[in-house]
Symmetry: C2
Subunit: 455 residues, 2 copies
C-alpha cells in the first residue's frame, strides 16, 4: 500500500517538531499534522513591535535554564541569543496581612523559624526525589505509599508553620499550576528529580527561569518548522488514527494520511480524545483519563518603561494575597517597554477563567499596583493567555498526576501501542514539563521509531 | 432551520433512555443516538439459554436495592419481577494467610478489636457523609480539607489495625472499583450519602445488592427502548456537537442531526472526547480530565448446579488473598445452572486486563476453587466482561473523583453549557453511580430541558 510518509507526527509543538527533525535527519519521510493554523503548541510569541524582531513577549513557555541542554543546543544550532531574566535589584514579598517586605537575594526577611521550616521541607523533598528512578517512578522506594497521598497531605504532616506551608503552596503552584491537593507526593518527587532539584525548579539565576531567548522562544519552533518546510501541515485537527498490519491511517478532517508509524505528541488527556481503531488497550486509555492538565493564565501588563527598575526593584515578587502569586520583569532585551508578568495558577486560574476579560485585567493589574505602586495601575496595554480555554491545549503547564496514576498506570505513559508512539513533554524523563523535556521526548520517540524500523 | 428532533440524546444507556422517555411523554420529539449496535450502556445481558427468557446473567449493572425508587418504579411499570439475591447459608472469608472462615449473618468471626475498628470507621464515615449536601458537595463542612486527602490517607489516620484496613479496602474496591488512594475522602462521603449509608452500599439484604430482575436488568433498557421505537439510532458514535443560536448539530459518522437541545448522557471522561464547536468552557473541559472511571472486570463461572448450596454455603465470600475479592451466587431464579460471580477491581482489574483470557480465567476460577472446593475448578463455562477494554465505556462502575475534583470543578458537573445538558449516573444526586442514579439523572436532565424550553 502506498504511504504519504514513513512517519506522521501528530502535533507541531516542540516535541512533535523535534521528533520530525530527528527523523528527517535520519532520512525518513515525515509529515507533521497540526490542529492549529500555527506551530509551536504551548510556545507562542506576542509581537510588541513588528518592526523590531526582538520586541516580543511570550504567552507560553519562555525560559531556558541550566542543564536544559537539548533546548540550549537547539537555540545554539539555530543561532539564537540568550539573555538573562531581569533580576537586578530588590524583590518583594506581599504577606497574608498585606504588608510588603523588600529584600535582596534568595531569602525573604521573614521569621527564621518559617525559613527553617521551608528549608527542612525542601531538603527532605530533594532527598526523597533523588531516589525516584526517572524512567520508572513506580518502582521507587515507598512508591505506593508516596503515590497514595496528595502533596497537601505531605505538607500538613511535614511542615509545621502556616507561613511555610503558604510559601510552599506558592512554589508548588508556580511550578505545577495546581493546588497541593491535586497532585501526588510521588509525582512532585519525580518532577523535582526530573528538573534536577527543588531550587533548580523555582530559581531564576541558576534555575529554570534563568535565561530568555532574544526574539522569544517561539523562534525555537520556527527554526524547526522552517527546516521541515512543507512537511508541516497546519489547520488539520487529527480526529482518528487507525492501525493495521501494513501501517497507520491518520484522519484529519476530510484528509486521510497513510504512514508506517505515527508519533502522537499531544499530552495524554488530548491524545485520549483521538478516535483509535482498534481502540487503545485498557491501561493506556485509563491513563489518559488520569493525567489532567494544570490550570494557568499568563498575564502581562505593558508600560512605557520598566519604572520599577529605577526604584531599585527587580520586578520579581511573591504575593500571598493574590490572585497573582508570582511576578517577573518580562521586558524585552532592549529594556523597553516595561513588562510585568504575573501568573494565575490553580484555583485562581479557574476562578478568573470564568470572569470577564475586564474583571480579570483589573484583578491582575490590581496586584501589580499593590506591589509596584500606582503607576503599575495604568499599563499602556494588558494581554493574557488563558491556556485552560485554549481548545488545542486545555491546560498548562503540563499534566499533574493525581494519586495513583504513576503506580497504577505509569508503564502505559511511554510504551508504544503497536505502530503508535508517544511524545510530548509529559513523557520526558529529564525536564519533564518543560520545553527541554518536550525536545527530549521528541528525540526519544524518533529514536524509538528508528529502532522499531530497524528490527 | 429545520430540525430532526426537538432534543437529541447522546447515548442509549439507562440515563439517555430515561431522559428520552420523559421528553417523549411531555410531547417532545426526540432522537437517541448510540455508538454501539445495542442499547443499555453499562447494562448488558448474557443469554444462558435462548429458549428460556429467565436464563440470563448480567455482565454489567445487575442489582436493585431498597430506596432505588426510580429503578423499582420503572421495573414495576414494565411489569418486571424482582427476586432476592441468593443469600441463604453461610458466608466465607479468606484471610490473608489463606485460612477460610465460615460464618452466618453480617459479621465475620474475626478478632473483636478488628471488628470494633471497622465499626468505628464506618460510623465515622456515615456521620461525616450525612453532612455532605448531595447537590453541592463542595459546600460541605471541611470540604476542602476532606477533598485534599485520599481515602487511603484517611484510612491510615483513622483505622488502627491492618486487618480492618484490609477489610475496608475490600469494601471500597467492591463499591468504587478503585484503590483507596485514587479517590478523595470527600467523594467517598458524597457517595455514601448519595446511596443512603455505608451499610446500604455494601449490603445484600437491605442493601444495594438486595434484588435482581427476572430476565436481567437489561429488560429495563429494553422496555424503554421498545417504547422509544425507531427514535433510537444504533451504531452511530457521536464525534462532534456544534451549538449556535438556532440549535445544535450532532455529528455521528457521516450523519448530521439538528435539534434545539442535546442531552449528553455519557460519563464525563467520554463526553470530553466529543469535539465541541464552540469548544467547551474551561471548567467543564478540565472537569472531564479529572473524572477517571474505575476499573472492573466482571467474571462468572457456570456450573451444572449451585453445588455450594448443598454444602450450606450462600456463595457469598470475601477474599483478602485475591485476585477476586468479592463473590456472589449469581444463579438465575430457577436455581440452575449454578453461577459464581466474582469481581476483579482496581489494581487486580488492571493487571488481569493485560493478560490472556486463559490466564485470567485460571486465576478467577482458582479463587473460586480455594473458596468452594475442587468442583469449582471445573466450570462448564466461564465468561467475563472487561469494562476497561470496552471502547464505548472505558471503565466501570462509575467515575472516581481524585482529590480536588469536587472542590475545584464540582459546579461544572451538572451545569448545562448553552443548549448542551448533561446526564449519566455520574451526575446523579441520589444513588450516584447506580442504575437508579442513571435513571434519575436522565429524568432530571429532561426536566431541565423542559424548564429551559419554557423560559
Amino acid at each position: 500500500m502506498s504511504t504519504d510518509a514513513d512517519v506522521i507526527v501528530v502535533g507541531a509543538g516542540m516535541a512533535g517538531l523535534s521528533a520530525a527533525e530527528r527523523l528527517v535527519a535520519e532520512g525518513k519521510s515525515v509529515l507533521v499534522v497540526e490542529a492549529r493554523n500555527r506551530f509551536g503548541g504551548r510556545v507562542l510569541n506576542e509581537v510588541l513591535d513588528s518592526s523590531d524582531p526582538t520586541q516580543v513577549i511570550e504567552m507560553g513557555g519562555q525560559w531556558l535554564g541550566p542543564t536544559q541542554d537539548r533546548a540550549r543546543a537547539l537555540a545554539q544550532r539555530l543561532g539564537l541569543t540568550l539573555y538573562p531574566t531581569y533580576a537586578e535589584g530588590d524583590k518583594l514579598l506581599e504577606r497574608h496581612d498585606g504588608r510588603l517586605l523588600r529584600y535582596r537575594g534568595e531569602i525573604p526577611p521573614i521569621n527564621p523559624l518559617v525559613l527553617a521550616d521551608v528549608g527542612q521541607a525542601q531538603a527532605r523533598l530533594d532527598r526523597m526525589a533523588r531516589r525516584v528512578p526517572l524512567d520508572a517512578p513506580w518502582s521507587s522506594v515507598r512508591a505506593r505509599q508516596r503515590d497514595a497521598m496528595t502533596f497537601a497531605t505531605w505538607l500538613s504532616r511535614n511542615v509545621c508553620t502556616r507561613d511555610a506551608r503558604s510559601l510552599l503552596r506558592v512554589a508548588l503552584k508556580a511550578v505545577w499550576a495546581c493546588e497541593p491537593h491535586e497532585v501526588s507526593l510521588l509525582h512532585v518527587l519525580f518532577y523535582i528529580h526530573s528538573g534536577g532539584g527543588f531550587d533548580r525548579l523555582v530559581g531564576t539565576s541558576g534555575g529554570a527561569q534563568q535565561d530568555r531567548v532574544v526574539g522569544g522562544t517561539h523562534l525555537l519552533a520556527a527554526g524547526l518548522a522552517r527546516e521541515l518546510g512543507d512537511r508541516v501541515l497546519l489547520g488539520r485537527p487529527v480526529r482518528g488514527i487507525g492501525s493495521d498490519d501494513g501501517g497507520v491511517t491518520v484522519r484529519a478532517g476530510d484528509h486521510q494520511l497513510r504512514a508506517h508509524r505515527v508519533i502522537v505528541s499531544l499530552h495524554p488527556a488530548l491524545a485520549g480524545r483521538i478516535d483509535y481503531t482498534p481502540p487503545l488497550p485498557a491501561d493506556r486509555d485509563q491513563l489518559t483519563q488520569r493525567m489532567p492538565m494544570g490550570s494557568v493564565i499568563k498575564c502581562m501588563a505593558i508600560y512605557d518603561e520598566p519604572f520599577w527598575r529605577r526604584d531599585g526593584l527587580s520586578g520579581q515578587a511573591l504575593s500571598l494575597v493574590g490572585p497573582v502569586s508570582v511576578v517577573f520583569d518580562n521586558s524585552p532585551p532592549r529594556g523597553s517597554p516595561g513588562v510585568l508578568l504575573g501568573f494565575l495558577e490553580g484555583r485562581e486560574a479557574r476562578r478568573l477563567s470564568a470572569v470577564s476579560a475586564a474583571a480579570r485585567r483589573d484583578l491582575v493589574v490590581g496586584t501589580f499596583a499593590r506591589l509596584f505602586g500606582a503607576r503599575a495601575a495604568r499599563p499602556q496595554r494588558y494581554v493574557d493567555k488563558d491556556w485552560l480555554a485554549d481548545e488545542f491545549t486545555r491546560g498548562c503547564y503540563t499534566a499533574v498526576m493525581p494519586p495513583g496514576t504513576w503506580t497504577e498506570f505509569g508503564p502505559a505513559l511511554r510504551t508504544p501501542v503497536g505502530r503508535i508512539h508517544w511524545a510530548g513533554t509529559e513523557t520526558a524523563t529529564i525536564w519533564n514539563g518543560y520545553i527541554d523535556g518536550a525536545i527530549r521526548s521528541g528525540e526519544d520517540a524518533a529514536a524509538d521509531v528508528l529502532r522499531a524500523d530497524a528490527r
